[in-house]
């Protein structure tokens, strides 16, 4: 057992609710790393912190709303995006970020996800993808790879997963990227980039879930999953979007990088000349 290092101050003290610690995440979980990237990006943006609002759905990632020292809304399962749309349209000065998981955003919230991307509404969506429903104890979700074992796929997952990057691109998002929780600098940089980018931005981050997903898929130690990412991640250059699907068990590369960066018009509410 390594003795904990105790410090009096942390550079992100003002952005994280210390009174909510310890957090609920398991040892080895990658969500906290991504939350730190988000906090750091807010700091780097340098804008008034009071303008930042975080909205989450349900699940382990949903707890981010409770740990960030911002105006924060922990909503119902799958509905973070439409709640965020209401916030953004009622107060367009806000930087509204949705921080949630793959199950919340792409399964129960899937319809809201694609329609928000289609509208190209100015939101930053950070999706931590751990390939399963972690909080409820490791069930299969919309990103669970074919053949992966979970508590609801004891014989291996018989379904193909979403290729989220391809989905979001087809739906119309202005910015789509994917990294892993190893790519701390890239994740931070892309969140910062998304804050400044008009329209819908989607940043997928692959994170280890050693307890919920790893232990039934020979990745019981988070380090093993990170090692897998280190070995197999390749920056996608010239790779077609439909080739960006993730197969953890095969030997294909796991593609990461910025897949979409375009300037389609963002959603604007109708304004009439001469109106109030």
């Amino acid at each position: 057992m390594v003795a904990p290092i105790l410090v009096d101050e942390h550079p992100l003290d003002t952005l994280i609710r210390a009174d909510r610690m310890p957090h609920i995440w398991c040892p080895g979980c990658g969500i906290g790393v991504v939350m730190r990237c988000y906090a750091h990006a807010i700091q780097l943006l340098g804008d008034d912190v009071d303008r930042h609002v975080v909205v989450s759905g349900i699940g382990c990632s949903g707890r981010v709303a409770g740990y960030m020292n911002l105006d924060s809304y922990h909503t119902t399962h799958g509905r973070a995006i439409p709640f965020a749309i209401g916030l953004k349209l009622a107060n367009p000065d806000l930087h509204v970020t949705v921080f949630s998981g793959d199950g919340d955003l792409a399964a129960i919230g899937g319809n809201h996800l694609i329609h928000a991307a289609r509208r190209n509404i100015d939101l930053t969506v950070i999706c931590t993808n751990n390939f399963n429903y972690g909080m409820t104890g490791g069930q299969a979700g919309p990103t669970t790879p074919l053949g992966a074992r979970t508590s609801t796929t004891p014989y291996g997952c018989p379904e193909l997963p979403f290729n989220l990057a391809n989905l979001l691109s087809a739906a119309g998002a202005n910015f789509v990227s994917r990294w892993t929780s190893l790519h701390v600098r890239q994740v931070r940089k892309d969140i910062l980039y998304a804050f400044r980018k008009p329209g819908f931005s989607f940043i997928e981050v692959l994170v280890p879930c050693p307890i919920g997903f790893g232990r039934s898929n020979k990745l019981a130690d988070a380090i093993d999953e990170l090692e897998l990412y280190r070995e197999r991640c390749e920056i996608a250059s010239g790779v077609e979007l439909d080739q960006l699907g993730i197969d953890l068990h095969g030997d294909r590369p796991i593609y990461v990088g910025r897949f979409v960066d375009r300037d389609a018009p963002q959603y604007q509410p109708i304004k009439l000349e001469g109106s109030a």
């Binding site: 439409p82 965020a84 109030a276």
Partner: protein
């Protein structure tokens, strides 16, 4: 020409949509006497109340509310957002409310069912908003274009868990206008979602609607925190006897945390049975202890009434006719019209029961509100019921009055 204009301009962010008469944008309050569609009167009531956000999904027979607001909200600088479904619609108005807007959605039975999930979130986060249900024949897809009044118990208990709610039922386009304003006031004053339970008859009825001067529109204020935002603000501390905590908005600097989880006064999740009991009790008591301000009724011929008819919505129009006919026939009939359905006027009913000999409860369902009456009175209660699809005529109500007299 309009379509061409939008295509020409690319994004329709700023364009000269033809609005109102002569292309002039109209004010929020259309003061004057109008011959107006019920759903449109509802939309105008929302605008008069200062609604600046509508998130909705088209559904008969409420669609005209959305259509009217799609044209009108941009005229007053508000936002009309057509969402992808009713779950999103409900979530979007909660988000807009959290940012400080007066926000509304409108739907009918199938959409109302989908909204139940986030209605509970609105109750739990105490986000004021207005949900209009122009009821149609149900269950399921039922009778999309025809009336019903069968969502009365769903209005009270539709979302899971214990909670208090306020619901109103207009009997005319004028009252749809008036009650939409009142619904926003009640929502804001008590930080609750408020339900406006219209029905297809009233929603699609065209009648005179008088819209007063803007200065005469009643506006109840939200309770707001005093002083500058500080880190120690407790967003769910309800110190007053009304049990309503002051509401702070996103972006004001309070570092709020709102969650659908059971939470303490700071807004932080707390899974202890004590905190859960205290929170849920306050959410229920908040409506109970303020019931006097929420309940609205209207009485006709009640002073000496021995037969009491109780009804609501469009059915109340026929009920009043039947009561008048009974009076002409020498029966001491009286009529209590419920303008608010929830909370139920328990004290009033107990007082009425001291003199009443029998009750007649007409409703366009197979017996929902009648169960509530039966809970509180000790005299015979006779229901007049039809599953919906057509407005109830006065005749069966008059027959029931004669039967119990």
């Amino acid at each position: 020409m309009r379509a061409l204009r939008i295509l020409h301009d690319g994004m329709p962010g700023v364009c000269n949509l033809h609005t109102g008469e002569g292309g002039v944008t109209r004010p929020a309050v259309l003061t004057g006497s109008h011959f107006m569609h019920g759903d449109h009167a509802c939309a105008e009531g929302a605008l008069a109340a200062g609604c600046t956000f509508f998130g909705g999904y088209p559904i008969t027979p409420s669609t005209e509310i959305a259509e009217r607001l799609a044209a009108r909200l941009p005229e007053v600088g508000g936002v009309f957002m057509q969402m992808e479904d009713e779950m999103a619609s409900m979530a979007s108005i909660l988000g807009a409310s959290a940012a400080g807007a007066r926000a509304m959605t409108a739907t009918s039975g199938p959409g109302f069912s989908l909204m139940m999930e986030n209605l509970g979130l609105g109750v739990m986060m105490e986000l004021p908003c207005v949900v209009v249900n122009v009821q149609r024949g149900s269950p399921s897809t039922g009778l999309p274009t025809l009336p019903g009044q069968s969502d009365i118990m769903q209005a009270r208990w539709g979302s899971h868990g214990d909670y208090g709610i306020a619901a109103y039922s207009p009997w005319s386009p004028q009252e749809l206008f008036d009650l939409t304003i009142h619904a926003f006031n009640v929502a804001d004053r008590f930080r609750i979602p408020v339900l406006l339970m219209a029905d297809e008859v009233v929603g699609h009825m065209v009648e005179r609607v008088i819209i007063p001067d803007a200065a005469e529109i009643v506006h109840w204020e939200r309770k707001r925190p005093n002083g500058k935002p500080k880190g120690d603000f407790l967003p769910y501390l309800a110190e007053g006897a009304d049990l309503v905590p002051p509401m702070a908005y996103a972006g004001e600097g309070y570092k709020l945390h709102f969650t659908g989880l059971t939470h303490d006064e700071k807004g932080y999740p707390d899974m202890s049975p004590e905190v859960h009991h205290a929170l849920v009790t306050r959410l229920v008591e908040k409506v109970r202890c303020n019931a006097d301000q929420l309940i609205r009724t209207e009485s006709y011929f009640m002073d000496d009434a021995s037969i009491v008819v109780i009804s609501f919505g469009s059915t109340a129009r026929s009920a009043l006719r039947a009561v008048k006919d009974a009076r002409e026939g020498g029966i001491k009939a009286g009529f209590l019209r419920l303008i608010s359905i929830w909370p139920f006027p328990v004290d009033m009913l107990r007082k009425i029961d001291e003199k009443a000999q029998a009750y007649v409860i007409p409703e366009m369902n197979l017996g929902q509100l009648i169960t509530e009456v039966e809970r509180y009175v000790h005299k015979p209660v006779l229901g007049v019921n039809h599953a919906g699809g057509v407005m109830m005529p006065p005749d069966p109500i008059l027959a029931a009055i004669r039967e119990v007299s």
